[in-house]
């Protein structure tokens, strides 16, 4: 913790608020995430987790509040610009490009989000190495519609990785998977984290969050109710209330 605090945060969220009509989905949320951290984000359904992700990745506009990435205000930037700056994400419900093969899905990311100009051959190499790392190499030429649930999840992570992210946001990448598949995806995320990628993981599967995270934040009704080490957060009275539903 002290070591992380000494560095400039990779992502800095300052008093972020998001309203839909009269409904406040996020209420004055502020948090710093240092580079290299494995950050777990939990909270009951409708607590604002995905909304927060959408605000970070740029799918939603935020009026009050600022998002700083590597010391730069990215609040006015469109999603694709944020992606190019190094923020990648997966989706809660996988959103593959359905008319494409797995390889083509990744090529979109390499074509548009690559940071330097590289040849087509080099991009293909990068793509294959990512697919290999994700255990999808054999599926490179399969249509995205023909993948199993766990393969889809992995492909989403692979596509996100192909954008060369510094921050990867995984939105419930393990939902609906069997326990062995959960371990598989968790190992993948761990190995990505060891490659100097900061990861925000949203998850309902508590064991996965506890095992994965350096730090955990719990949202309820758009507010941060607890933040700290996994065991601190789990011990928190309000977190337990939010989950048990008092």
């Amino acid at each position: 913790m002290t070591n992380a605090e000494a560095r400039v945060p990779l992502l800095r969220i300052v008093s972020l608020t998001k309203r839909f009509g009269g409904f406040t989905a996020l209420d004055n949320v502020s948090v710093d995430i240092p580079p290299g951290e494995r950050f777990g984000l939990i909270g009951p359904n409708g607590s604002g987790k995905t909304t927060l992700i959408n605000c970070i990745s740029g799918a939603f506009r935020t009026e009050p509040g600022t998002v700083l990435f590597r010391d730069e205000d990215i609040t006015p930037l469109q999603p694709h610009v944020r992606t190019r700056r190094g923020i990648a994400r997966s989706f809660q419900i996988p959103r593959p490009f359905r008319s494409m093969t797995v390889a083509e899905n990744l090529m979109v990311a390499l074509d548009f989000a690559a940071h330097e100009h590289v040849s087509v051959a080099q991009r293909r190499d990068t793509m294959m190495s990512i697919l290999t790392q994700m255990g999808l190499a054999s599926k490179a030429n399969a249509s995205a519609t023909k993948l199993s649930q766990v393969e889809l999840r992995k492909m989403e992570l692979a596509r996100a990785m192909a954008t060369h992210p510094k921050l990867l946001i995984s939105d419930e990448a393990m939902a609906g998977l069997s326990s062995s598949e959960v371990d598989e995806v968790l190992d993948l995320l761990m190995s990505l984290a060891s490659q100097d990628i900061t990861i925000i993981m949203i998850e309902h599967i508590m064991q996965a969050v506890m095992r994965f995270s350096d730090r955990v934040m719990c949202l309820d009704a758009g507010k941060i109710i607890a933040i700290g080490t996994p065991s601190e957060v789990m011990a928190n009275q309000r977190v337990q209330e939010a989950y048990l539903g008092t």
Partner: protein, 290 residues
């Protein structure tokens, strides 16, 4: 000033009529999200059937409209089934093809009408057509009053149906949350099909009003694409009371432009308003979506 007052009064009556021809679309497109570009073509088809019945059997156009209502209900059920089986269920890329499908259907209906009835204008005969009611200097054609009355009744009935009956509430629920509906034990597809049937059935009377208000021709549906979608989008998708208000706004706007600038500008009014609403406030004036 008198001219303007005239225009406003006629505009309000016209607007209520527009509500009647749009309310079906407010259900099918507004609530069910079906890209029903063929709605106006169905409307014109209904008007031609009314014309046919009126001419051959001398039956009052409103009664004729009621006669074809069950027919249109069944037609609507079948149309939704086909749409669902071919597009909604297949899921991917339904958007492009669904829109093209209804566009194609609209064209087929248009051509079939031309082949059957020719391109000439057609009108119906009834006791209330051709006469006017005078109040002071103002003359209000009876046909507009009939259209106004029937339109109000139709809109009111549908609004009541959607808010008071079990099926009506299920239809509203299907627009919001299909999962909740499934948990309640209702089959969302059945509910949607029923709703589409109702939305089409309403066109029986709406078609009668269309030919009562003015003579019709086979390509009239094109103008009504603008009017009906303008009303439904302006109303905020699926809002029944909004439909009435939006339709009256459109009616008055058209009527005023007609009086001030002449008939040649009239076709563009609805489309211009539609474009304006889409560009500035796509959720409509009384929108259900945030």
């Amino acid at each position: 000033m008198d001219l303007l007052l005239d225009a406003v009064v006629i505009g309000v009556l016209l607007g209520c009529f527009y509500a009647a021809v749009s309310i079906g679309l407010s259900v099918s497109f507004g609530l069910l999200d079906v890209p029903h570009v063929a709605h106006p073509a169905f409307l014109v088809l209904a008007a031609y059937l009314v014309f046919f019945i009126n001419e051959h059997y001398g039956i009052d156009p409103l009664v004729a409209g009621l006669i074809i209502t069950p027919l249109f209900f069944v037609f609507g059920l079948a149309a939704y089934r086909l749409y669902y089986e071919t597009f909604e269920r297949r899921g991917s890329d339904a958007g492009v093809r669904g829109i093209a499908f209804f566009f194609g259907v609209a064209f087929i209906i248009e051509v079939l009408i031309i082949l059957q009835f020719g391109v000439d204008q057609r009108s119906v005969t009834a006791a209330y057509i051709g006469k006017s009611w005078r109040i002071g200097d103002m003359r209000i054609p009876y046909r507009m009053l009939v259209a106004f009355g029937v339109a109000m009744a139709l809109t009111l009935l549908l609004t009541l149906y959607l808010s008071k009956t079990y099926m009506g509430r299920a239809i509203r629920a299907v627009a919001q949350d299909q999962e909740a509906l499934r948990l309640m034990g209702a089959n969302p597809i059945r509910v949607k099909q029923w709703a589409f049937g109702i939305a089409t059935a309403v066109l029986g009377l709406a078609g009668a009003l269309l030919i009562i208000v003015a003579p019709i021709d086979p390509t009239l549906d094109r103008a009504y694409i603008g009017r009906t979608f303008c009303v439904v989008v302006m109303a905020g998708l699926g809002s029944m009371s909004g439909t009435l208000v939006a339709a009256v706004i459109l009616g008055v706007a058209e009527s005023i432009v007609l009086t001030m600038f002449g008939a040649s500008w009239a076709p563009a009014i609805a489309f211009a308003m539609l474009l304006g609403v889409l560009a500035v406030r796509p959720q409509g004036l009384f929108g259900r979506r945030s």
